[in-house]
Amino acid sequence: MMDQPDAGDDRYLRQTLLPGIGPDGQARLAKSCVLIAGAGGLGSASAFYLAGAGIGHIKIADHDTVEISNLNRQILHADTALGQPKGVSAAARLTAFNTGIQVTGLCERITHDTITAMLEGVDIIVDGCDSYETRQVLNRASLALRLPYVYAGVNGFDAMVSCFVPGQTPCFECLFSGNAPPSDQPVGVIGAAPGLAGSLQAMETVKLLLDIGRPLKNRLLRISGLDMRCHCMDLTPNPACPACARA
């Protein structure tokens, strides 16, 4: 790890003032490790706020390269990064943003074969994916390794967020069936939608790491951006879940 500023460093002053964080909480954040699975729209927002919060080690994984059509929402990447692997671009940007934390960019595809190594030393999985299949990989790893999985997804002006915690909540596959065939057609999205959802994921991740507040466990937050409706729906485990019903 790079030189980590003292927990009392002014960099984190405004959050160490908060009850529930304080110097001790800040020190816990500095010792934490998070995998951000995807350096797209969601991952861009969550990564900045988790880096800003002083998470000691952020791993950020993405096998794609930066394309011009990414830049309406993927604020980790600049025009100068076009053509670069997103893992490299993201790690460089985050390291420049906060030199006091360790950032590891991973450029491998997230699969059932690669995820276990990616999760070595990781405390929480933060979803930055754009497909059901990759989320299924994260979900199975979350269940196998008993790691919390902070899900978000976006579409258009809309977003969803939930915290799936093995043994305490339903899992991703309890809710999402993946029945629709995968599509290679791009999905329209306004940049602020993943920005909003990714920011919420960063907040939920800090809450889970510090065991403070009331994280989005057993609830799915839905935001309809066009008519600006936000509400939570209550979740119960799915007895027919293919992933966790017998877990």
């Binding site: 979803d127 969803m160 629709a180």
Partner: protein, 66 residues
């Protein structure tokens, strides 16, 4: 009977289940998620879960973009 479906008051046939309501609304998304009175309803319950007067029901298309 009158229910609130996706934020809009709708008059729907009496004695519907969630399955019947999906059919009535001509919802075709195979990944459709259903919320009834703020509670997530699982597909295995669609055939037996009744729709009652004044229920608040949302048909939700999952958000899987990133």
């Amino acid at each position: 009977m009158i229910i609130q479906l996706n934020g809009i008051k709708e008059t729907v046939p009496d004695s519907l289940t969630i399955s019947g309501l999906i059919e009535w609304a001509k919802e075709g998304d195979p990944d459709l998620m259903v919320e009834k009175n703020r509670q997530y309803i699982y597909p295995a319950e669609y055939d037996t879960c009744p729709v009652n007067e004044n229920d608040v029901i949302e048909f939700i298309n999952p958000n899987l973009g990133g």
